[in-house]
């Protein structure tokens, strides 16, 4: 059966969900609230185009996702370039410039997360959050879209205007910095 839209119950049924979706991705309460509002208003204008193929919530979430990508785009231009530069500089400590080998002190060490059946503590979660927030916005956007939203690589490249080669470089660098930050903070 086709799905229906009922804007009279949108806020009651979906506002908290959309807010949670937005805030886990952009980490700014005021901005997340604005995005929820913009999502509903944009959705009203598209009601006529709704074909009933997806549920109301999925459809609204797709609209919100596009708004979040707009935020990603804005965040990763301008001032952010400085943050990318700093994050890249950090990496010259990881590998020997000549042969690409790990620089001894910064090489991966086991620190208790290698076991699959580990018990993740609240403390570790907080460190993870802190380390994620240190990533430059563009890296975080690429990382989130790929790992959490499982978007196709081509979609991410188009939306965030990065080349395919640069996409893989960013995926690699984001993980290197994240892992190093976890190791530094946890040991």
């Amino acid at each position: 059966m086709d799905h229906q839209l009922n804007p009279h119950h949108w806020v009651a049924a979906h506002a908290d969900y959309l807010f949670g979706f937005a805030i886990t991705r952009i980490n700014d309460e005021e901005l997340a609230k604005d995005l929820v509002q913009e999502t509903f208003l944009a959705a009203l204008e598209k009601v006529a185009k709704f074909e009933g193929k997806s549920s109301e919530r999925t459809w609204l979430t797709a609209i919100l996702k596009n708004k979040i990508i707009d935020v990603y785009r804005k965040k990763s231009s301008g001032l952010q370039n400085k943050m990318v530069k700093e994050a890249e500089d950090e990496q010259s400590d990881f590998f020997n410039a000549d042969d690409g080998h790990w620089i001894n002190n910064n090489g991966p060490k086991e620190f208790g997360i290698e076991d699959k059946d580990r018990l993740v503590s609240r403390e570790f979660e907080l460190i993870m959050q802190k380390c994620l927030q240190k990533l430059p916005a563009l890296w975080m956007s690429v990382f989130t879209m790929k790992h959490i939203d499982e978007e196709a690589t081509e979609v991410i490249c188009t939306e965030l205007k990065v080349t395919s080669a640069n996409f893989w470089v960013i995926i690699h660098r984001a993980k290197l910095n994240l892992r190093a930050c976890l190791q530094r903070s946890w040991i």
């Binding site: 929820v36 993740v120 993980k175």
Partner: protein, 91 residues
């Protein structure tokens, strides 16, 4: 440096291939080079394990913070629904 030696030393390239393989495709040759590298490099073997676990943990973190009680305040919601009703009445 010989071809094999370059592969054996180059952890930067090996970790790049680990990431690329976990999300996309690498070539047959790259897969071979990665395998050769991992046999001799305990750093990168640890990296590989950690990388996978980090992916899982980030996903869990997002899932659990989605389920956490992050609610909008009632006033905001009321105003929002009023705004929607206004828009609906315009048409």
């Amino acid at each position: 440096m010989s071809y094999l030696k370059r592969i054996i030393y180059n952890c930067k390239q090996a970790t790049f291939l680990i990431e690329k393989r976990s999300l996309g495709k690498i070539t047959f040759r790259e897969a071979f080079e990665l395998r050769v590298h991992l046999v001799g490099c305990s750093f990168c073997r640890i990296y590989k394990k950690q990388s996978r676990v980090i992916n899982e943990m980030v996903q869990e973190l997002f899932r659990s913070s989605m389920q956490a009680d992050r609610k909008l305040d009632d006033n905001f919601k009321k105003e929002l629904q009023v705004r929607i009703e206004e828009e609906l009445n315009k048409n």
